[in-house]
Symmetry: none
Subunit: 218 residues, 4 copies
DNA sequence: GATGAATGAGGCTTCATTCAT
DNA sequence: GATGAATGAAGCCTCATTCAT
């Protein structure tokens, strides 16, 4: 670890990443896509309430009124980003849980890798999805909250399975889940492609940490 | 782990705690104290930009204009909360690092305990300090950022020390720091006194997790 | 008179009628006709300023932009309705004044009948023509104002004629005109086909009232 | 009747009066009063939707934001005017119905006089109360509608009473009420202090008209 | 300390209209 | 004829802040 790194971290406010990225399957063409991309950056940097629609319009090169040709309201731009973020996260978690050997250790490793990877690959999206959810109405936040609960349950099940199978030995399963989940979520706040780590390296290392926490480390 | 717990977690937006708490040494008498306490709740729930001074005044039972008899501006209310949060966090970290046996494992355990404990005891304060910092001007955010960097360095030093001494064996020291730091920070988002865990239990368990991550677990 | 009737009247805002009607000779085919009919309802209910072209487009099943393929501007839709309303009113008044016995009593009866009839048969049109005229530019409002003045003069002439001939005995001719004209105009606000009165009944009765007012009642 | 008069009437859009008047008991001091007075003129001239809060603020010599120190919303300014108008109208009607000789003819004369008088004395208020009610939400319009229904019932009762007592002979009581009520309401649209009629003259003459309509004329 | 009134700036959103497709 | 996207203006309202009382 160099001082440069800590210096870089020291000035961050909400996150370190500087590149706007969205999952590949997300349509980014046209004005709608432009709006989503610029909103991702602005909402991540300044928060939903800290971003005015004039800010957003200016970033997109349109008048703020034009925004309403593409989204019903400002809130719906956020809702779309939150949806994309949660769906991508959930999709990867589910895929990781099911694809590959079924033993708890291998599953845990795959799921933690996926969890971390999505936070390292899409840090802004994760920051927005995790930190700006409170700005959505209950109606618009609902789907995301359901996916979130589902993903958490997936991790809980693996932990319980591993404990039941004698593969894991943890002081407390619930706390293990919060710890594993939490450390992965925070990756979005500090990871930056300019750091000398590939997302996969972080994912692998965090997976190793998770296995060590469960007493099943290599 | 029961489904009840995960269900309760599933509805959270920014944090689970419901009780406003500030460190004991913080003066909370008079209108100024009332303002700080209500601001803590509102900023944690809705964010700085999502809270108007009218909201704040109403919560305090005063007109918004009265606020200016106690604070120069809205931003200074946040700055004060951010200061309190970071100072408490830093004070505890430094104290934990210095008090007690000097071997890396023991120090790491004490520091992680302190880190987690402050997030479990003052979840709202931590949420505000961690998530609303971006709403402060560089000038007002500066002191907090310095304390934050200092605390992180403290953890880095312990890790490096333990590695040098052969007490710790980690894939990567930087990633270990981010993981340990991150899982502790997220405690503020899910911990709630109504959960069947005392803050100390969480702190002890997370410290155990940290030691396991460093290969020095019990 | 039952309480039911007065209760029904009690909830009215601008008018009681619920059926959109326009004079038979008005072309209502095609999209232009549809626009006129829907505008009649909306302008009557909410007023010109209270109706957006989006509202109007939606009611017609078209996009608001399509409206401009049929009318130069929103104002011209109103102008057309105002024109139709005033022309129909004027045409009927003139016809009533000229067709039939020339004695003042008979003429007054016919003219009042026509005046009331048009308000009972086309209440929405009358409400729009009478209440929304102020939303038209002077240029577009001009023709309607001329027809209106002409119609009023027609009534004035009949009154003066009857007075000169000794057929009428009124305290004040001007006030008699305002009273007769006014009570007829208000018919548009309360008449509803669901009431147990045919438009002709109302017209006959009001004509009788007018004659009584002039001292020439049956 | 001169041509001048009809010419003057010919250019009117919504009403002829040019002087802003409110009942004497209405507090008109301070900014709130100023707002009410200017709103009365503007709403009468251009309608509620045709008047922007910037228009209103400018007329009052304040910024539009200041309006919100005195009224919760634009709609509440209208609601207050509507309330004042309906209460004044209702108060006078009730007073006229009860004060004086109880025979139906005398009561009818007094009530019609009151009805007309209030429309001649406060033409703008009447125009706003009668024509802009549709711009109020159901909640805010409710009280006015109740007063209106109550006033109408009062007239209905007098008519029925007179008929039962043999004092009146009308073709139809309901239509007599609509005619009497309607001709009085329209006074607000044409009466102007510059006309060579005192409000009392109009009221007396219209009362005479009403009595003639009921067959009880002098 | 506390407040009501005032303000300038700006919030989000809708307005009527245009135009290339 | 019809439309989706765009626009400049304007809609109502709330913002944080000031200041005389």
């Amino acid at each position: 670890m160099t001082n440069d790194r800590s210096a870089a971290l020291g000035t961050q406010r909400r996150f370190a990443a500087s590149q706007v990225r969205l999952p590949e399957h997300v349509l980014l063409e046209g004005t709608s896509g432009r709006i989503l991309r610029e909103a991702l950056l602005l909402f991540a940097e300044r928060g939903f309430y800290g971003t005015s629609i004039r800010d957003l319009g200016q970033a997109c090169g349109i008048r703020s009124a034009t925004l309403y040709s593409h989204f019903p309201a400002k809130e719906n731009v956020l809702a779309e980003l939150v949806r994309i973020g949660h769906e991508e996260h959930h999709r990867r978690l589910v895929e990781a849980a099911s694809a590959g050997p079924a033993d708890p250790g291998a599953r845990l490793r795959r799921v933690v890798r996926a969890h971390v990877l999505v936070h390292a690959e899409f840090p802004m999206l994760a920051v927005v999805a995790n930190n700006e959810l409170h700005a959505l109405s209950a109606e618009l936040a609902g789907p995301a909250l359901m996916l979130r609960a589902d993903g958490r349950q997936l991790l809980i099940d693996i932990l319980n399975e591993g404990i039941a199978a004698g593969a894991f030995e943890v002081p407390d399963a619930f706390l293990a889940v919060t710890a594993i989940s939490g450390m992965g979520m925070r990756v979005a706040n500090w990871y930056d492609p300019s750091l000398p780590y590939q997302p996969e390296e972080v994912a692998d290392t965090y997976a190793e940490f998770a296995l060590r926490m469960t007493g099943a480390g290599a």
